[in-house]
């Protein structure tokens, strides 16, 4: 079995039985590309001389060689282009990295196209040309994979393994019930921060195209697997097919309170923007619980809705100080008249102020 899988990964090497470590890696679903290094092209010639070759294998080898040559040409062109570009940019061609190439292309061909894929690019040929599967059958034409005749062996293998895990987990659950044990609630699989990988990503991982229906059955099976009470036992396998929803782009540091001349703490935030309004906010502690907006109280706002919003903001902050001795005091726009209100002519109603959301 191991030998078969190793052949699946690299069929030509597999003939010499020189594989050891890659057998373990072959558990990963990503199948290899056509090989491109020189020793293997020699192997191709050796194979070609044999007369016992199956027709399918011969065709495959022919295709492999063509692809190999094509990739070699592309690679050579890319290397030459890279050196040329480095010379143009006045850099050392030997230390010119892919990042430098991207920067150079962005500089030489500035593009305002929204879609990033549509912008000019220069990438190594391995990234540009899609991956292709290695041979799935031996020289006699016999397929390596037991699900070969499904047409999508890698895809169906995932489903097959998932169902096996479901059966195993059910058995385990039965055993636990017999022992009168319950799953640990602390270990329950937390899936809320992630989602199943998209169809396109799954396809590239499998090196197989799948239909929408097949993708939905993948989701169904995986959902079923993840919903089992003991699914945390195969957490790694499940998380392999999930994508995290969190993408941290910024870290926020809380402002350190300063002391004023009376020894009270205060925090000022300037240029708080909401739609067309700008405000500077100062919060003092201990405070009196009063609000000042441009030297006026809550009645600074004419509309009831704005007053309601302003008082709710006040209430929410006040609520956090509930039960504590110190109370916050608020100053809105104390230093300068910073709330800018754009007046807009309205029909028949005189002039109406437009105020942004929570702009206090």
């Amino acid at each position: 079995m191991l030998r078969q899988i190793s052949r699946l990964v690299d069929p030509l090497k597999g003939r010499n039985l020189s594989l050891t470590s890659s057998c373990v890696e072959s558990k990963l679903l990503r199948t290899s590309q056509f090989s491109t290094n020189a020793s293997e092209s020699n192997a191709v010639e050796d194979v070609d001389t044999k007369k016992t070759l199956n027709k399918a294998m011969r065709t495959y080898l022919e295709r492999a060689r063509e692809h190999d040559e094509f990739m070699k040409t592309q690679r050579r062109e890319f290397e030459i282009g890279k050196r040329h570009l480095a010379n143009m940019m006045g850099e050392n061609p030997d230390t010119f990295t892919q990042e430098d190439i991207d920067n150079a292309i962005a500089y030489l061909f500035p593009s305002g196209l929204y879609e990033k894929k549509a912008r000019p690019m220069m990438k190594p040929p391995e990234e540009v040309f899609p991956q292709r599967k290695a041979a799935e059958f031996d020289e006699t034409g016999r397929p390596y994979h037991f699900l070969f005749y499904t047409g999508r062996p890698n895809f169906y293998q995932i489903l097959h393994e998932a169902v096996q895990h479901i059966i195993e987990l059910n058995k385990f659950e039965d055993a636990m019930i017999r022992k009168k044990l319950e799953p640990d609630p602390n270990l329950t699989l937390e899936l809320s921060g992630s989602k199943w990988i998209e169809k396109e990503i799954l396809e590239t991982n499998l090196v197989e195209t799948i239909t929408d229906k097949e993708y939905s059955s993948f989701i169904n099976v995986m959902d079923r697997l993840a919903s089992l009470p003991y699914s945390y036992r195969i957490k790694d396998l499940i998380m392999q097919y999930r994508k995290s929803l969190i993408n941290q782009s910024k870290t926020f540091e809380a402002i350190i309170p300063q002391l004023d001349e009376n020894g009270r703490q205060f925090v000022s935030v300037y240029e708080c923007r909401r739609k067309r309004a700008t405000a500077s906010v100062t919060v003092r502690s201990p405070g009196t619980g009063k609000i000042t907006i441009n030297d006026l109280g809550i009645d600074y706002f004419n509309g009831v809705q704005q007053r309601e919003q302003a008082s709710v903001v006040w209430y929410n902050i006040f609520d956090r100080f509930r039960g504590k001795q110190q109370k916050p005091r608020f100053f809105y726009c104390t230093e300068k008249q910073r709330i800018i209100m754009h007046q807009r002519p309205t029909h028949g109603m005189g002039q109406q102020r437009t105020i942004g959301r929570n702009n206090v």
């Binding site: 809320s192 921060g193 929803l245 067309r276 509309g303 309601e308 919003q309 709710v312 029909h347 109603m349």
Partner: protein
């Protein structure tokens, strides 16, 4: 100009990094997979207690509307009614009208309250105008509606069940129309609306009559009911 730029910026910021493609959702600023905000403190507490909050943590959420607050005085049904009442985007006017009608309701009820002779009668009178409003809307909700269906070149008015949302809309819209019926130079809108609210809360008045008329028509067209599916 700065305002336009800032609006533009917010639009760009809305594009989440975690999603590969942005789904256009009509004229809406937020894509369709954004969930409604949970702005009430009680709702948030309830979610925290039940443990459902962990599901909402990573959901992209729409911003709360200008009018939505966690204030105790906020009533989503009343806010909806204000929005139905609003014309040409004059929200402050609409809000003012609603508030004045609720004040008027309070006056009417207080007048009745003080006219009562016994405590039993007084106990029956509801003095909270918001409760009166909710009762009025509830009493005005129809159970069926008529849908025109063309069969053999003739349009039949076919009775069909009504959705909760549509029923509430009809009830509120009838209240508004009833309020507008009188000439406003003689009877102001809020006065008339207050009367209608009180009447409807007692299961009388124009709105309830209108609902009953619709029910009667539905009853009369009962024979066409099968056109809904055949």
């Amino acid at each position: 100009m700065a305002g336009i730029n800032s609006l533009f910026k917010t639009k760009i910021l809305l594009k989440p990094n975690t999603f590969s493609a942005i789904v256009q959702n009509g004229m809406a600023i937020f894509p369709s997979y954004y969930i409604e905000p949970i702005y009430k403190k009680e709702d948030q507490e309830a979610l925290k207690k039940s443990g459902e909050i962990s599901e909402y943590v990573h959901m992209p959420t729409k911003a709360a509307l200008n009018s939505q607050t966690c204030s105790v005085s906020y009533d989503p049904i009343l806010s909806l009614f204000t929005n139905y009442l609003m014309r040409k985007g004059q929200k402050e006017l609409a809000r003012n009208l609603v508030e004045r009608s609720l004040e008027q309701v309070k006056r009417i009820q207080l007048e009745r309250y003080h006219k009562c002779n016994s405590d039993e009668e007084r106990a029956k009178i509801e003095l909270n105008p918001k409760i009166i409003f909710h009762r009025a809307v509830e009493n005005g909700k129809p159970l069926l509606q008529l849908m025109p269906v063309k069969r053999g070149g003739v349009k039949y008015q076919v009775p069909v069940p009504i959705s909760e949302y549509k029923a509430r809309f009809l009830s509120m819209n009838w209240l508004i129309e009833a309020g507008r019926e009188k000439d406003r130079t003689k009877v102001r809108f809020w006065t008339q609306l207050a009367r209608e609210l009180v009447d409807a809360s007692n299961n009388t008045g124009k709105v309830v009559r209108r609902k009953q008329e619709l029910h009667k028509q539905c009853e009369a067209n009962k024979a066409y009911a099968h056109y809904r599916w055949s």
